[in-house]
Amino acid sequence: MNATKVMSPKMGSRTAAPRKFSLGGFFKAREAGIVLALIALVAFTAAQNPRFLSAQSIRDILLGTAILAVLAVGQATVMITRNIDLSVGSVLGLSAFAVGSVLQANQSLPVMVALIVGLAVGAACGLVNGVLVRFGKVPALVVTLGTLYAYRGAAYFWAGGEQINADELPAHFLKFGNSSILGIPWLVVIAAIVLVVAGVVLRNYRAGRELYAMGSSPQAAELAGIKVGRNTIAAFLVSGALAGVAGVLFAARFGTIDAAAGNGYELNVVAAAVVGGVAVFGGSGTVWGAGLGALLLTVIGSSLAVLDINQFWQQAIVGALILLAIGADRLVAVRVAKALKKRDSHV
């Protein structure tokens, strides 16, 4: 042990450069891999059917990605801390219906208020998740499984089989869902803002680094003085709030809302995050990766339609991608562990 201490500064300086390169290089490689896959897929599909790159088609893809990307950013935040949030689909549904009901009753409410209402509903749901995980010491899997059921049931209870139709929502809200600013749809702008803010905070701010530390080793983080409890609750709060925002975007985009909105979304969200490099075991991955994962999944869906391949392949492909992604993560983790062992053994 002592020998290590004495030798490590020299070892550190000698191997600092190559070590940093391999770890940083890996992260970059993952996102680069997704971008390459995206380019290849788009190129192939466009070659078969040039309409794929038409303005309308691109717009539809981006709009579809926006909602999934917002959800994926929240999921990535939670997964980085070595937790998971399976309730996001139900939170989206609850938020969409809440916002729809509020707008149905008050037609003149500005879009900003709708966004805040959705965010608040989602944040409340996320808070419950966080508190149960932190203070109840219940594993996130079980908590969010239970709240997936509970929030969905609450949405059905409230909605009672009703449906809010597009003609009951204010026109300016629906326009927000479909219109653009400077050529970019509003929904995409919001998704981009969420992505950028989350990316910057997680990378450059202490709060973000603490989340990574918690995911890498919860005990070490606790010993290092990180307020694990508070950060855990914060992570779930963020995930819930973003799911709430996604609910508002959903309501604006589709216009018809019932209690079943967002049913089954959690699978695609987790897939987007996992494919984008966020490890289920926590401690690695970026929200950029999650966003790219969301884009990839949406493009796959559109490509299948354009190439007239049986749309049903989509879910199978999503499953295969998840398995591929975690396999790749495992491979890298093994390599990193070997590399670390080699460095420490200084034979």
Partner: protein, 358 residues
């Protein structure tokens, strides 16, 4: 570990192939399946002069609950049951799935209802439980979407199947300008009514006056708004020269109209089919939809209630030729296979759409 794993797999495979070979020597296949079985049509005699039973407990089980069209249908049923001093109940799944309907049918049997009114998601899947209901003395009135005919007592059809198919084909042809690619956006793949109408539609297209039309695809939106929206999107992506989308489902036509009216295809691709005036009004006004058809869904539920009470009172038994009175709708005669037809469909367009409120 690996060798044991392989041994395990090989022995499992060997066992499986042995079983398969043995079983292949005999066995029940689909062709052996003897037809029907279960409760057949009632053989009891009808007594048209029997007094109308009071307090008939009738439960409505539409395809799914969160569907504006179903809501109007069962609303009509409630009005009728109030007139008849019956007890109205509404149950149903939130997804248009057959297995969910089966568990509701079981619950209704347990609650000892007198009549079940059902719009079937799958004509065969609900059959065993419907027959179990009938053998417990419950009358089954199918409406809108039929169950297999040996599982229900009567079927309320909104219009003749031929009439609907013909109307759809005519509207599609007029709006597409007589020639070009058209597509259908349907509900769920197994829905009896949808498939019946689509079959007539296809038959119509073989006629010489529709020779210029080319039906390129039948897409399924599962009567789910979001899925229908995405299917409409997919249709245009795959077939950019599409002239018309025909959606014989109110959910599908509303979703397709919404997508087209906010896209670059507005005015270029016609949207038609079966829709409710209230849902379609905005798209007729903004020019996305020129013409579509329907009937008054409330009348279907209303007629189903009167038929159900007549069955429960013994006034009819579902045999062709029997008649009964259906409140404000007048006298109805049961047709072949227990089918009762409501009437011809109405075509809606900008000139008459404001006269209706449903």
């Amino acid at each position: 570990m690996t060798s044991r794993f392989l041994t395990g797999v090989l022995s499992a495979a060997a066992a499986a192939s042995l079983v398969v070979t043995l079983a292949a020597c005999g066995g029940t296949t689909r062709n052996d399946n003897s037809s029907s079985g279960g409760a057949a049509q009632s053989t009891a005699q009808a007594n048209p002069n029997a007094p109308t039973k009071q307090g008939v407990k009738m439960a409505y089980l539409p395809k799914q609950l969160n569907n504006p069209y179903s809501d109007i249908e069962v609303g009509g049923g409630k009005v009728a049951l109030d007139e008849l001093q019956g007890q109205y109940k509404l149950v149903g799944p939130n997804d248009a799935s057959a297995s969910s309907q089966v568990s509701y049918i079981n619950t209704l049997i347990q609650q000892q209802q007198d009549v079940i009114g059902i719009a079937a998601n799958d004509p065969n899947a609900v059959c065993p439980s419907l027959n179990q209901a009938r053998s417990s003395g419950i009358k089954v009135v199918a409406f809108d979407s039929d169950a297999a005919k040996d599982c229900r007592d009567v079927f309320i059809n909104q219009a003749t199947t031929e009439g609907i198919g013909e109307q759809l084909a005519k509207m599609a042809s007029d709006l597409a300008g007589g020639s070009g690619e058209i597509a259908i956006l349907s509900a769920t793949p197994n829905a009896t009514n949808q498939n019946a109408w689509i079959d007539v539609f296809r038959q119509q297209l073989t006629k010489p006056e529709y020779a210029g039309l080319n039906l390129v695809k039948v897409a399924y939106g599962n009567d789910d708004d979001q899925k229908s929206f995405q299917e409409a999107q997919g249709l245009l992506q795959s077939y950019p020269n599409l002239k018309a989308i025909v959606a014989p489902t109110t959910v599908g036509i509303a979703a397709a109209a919404r997508y087209i009216s906010s896209s670059a295809y507005k005015g270029k691709v016609a949207v038609t089919g079966l829709g409710t005036p209230n849902q379609m009004r905005e798209y007729v006004k903004d020019g996305t939809v020129t013409r579509f058809a329907l009937w008054n869904p409330a009348d279907i539920g209303y007629l189903a209630a009167y038929a159900g009470v007549a069955l429960a009172s013994g006034q009819i038994t579902g045999v062709q030729g029997q008649t009964f009175k259906a409140g404000k709708l007048g006298q109805y005669t049961i047709g072949a296979n227990g089918e009762i037809v409501l009437g011809p469909p109405t075509v809606f367009d900008a000139s008459n759409i404001d006269q209706y409120n449903f």
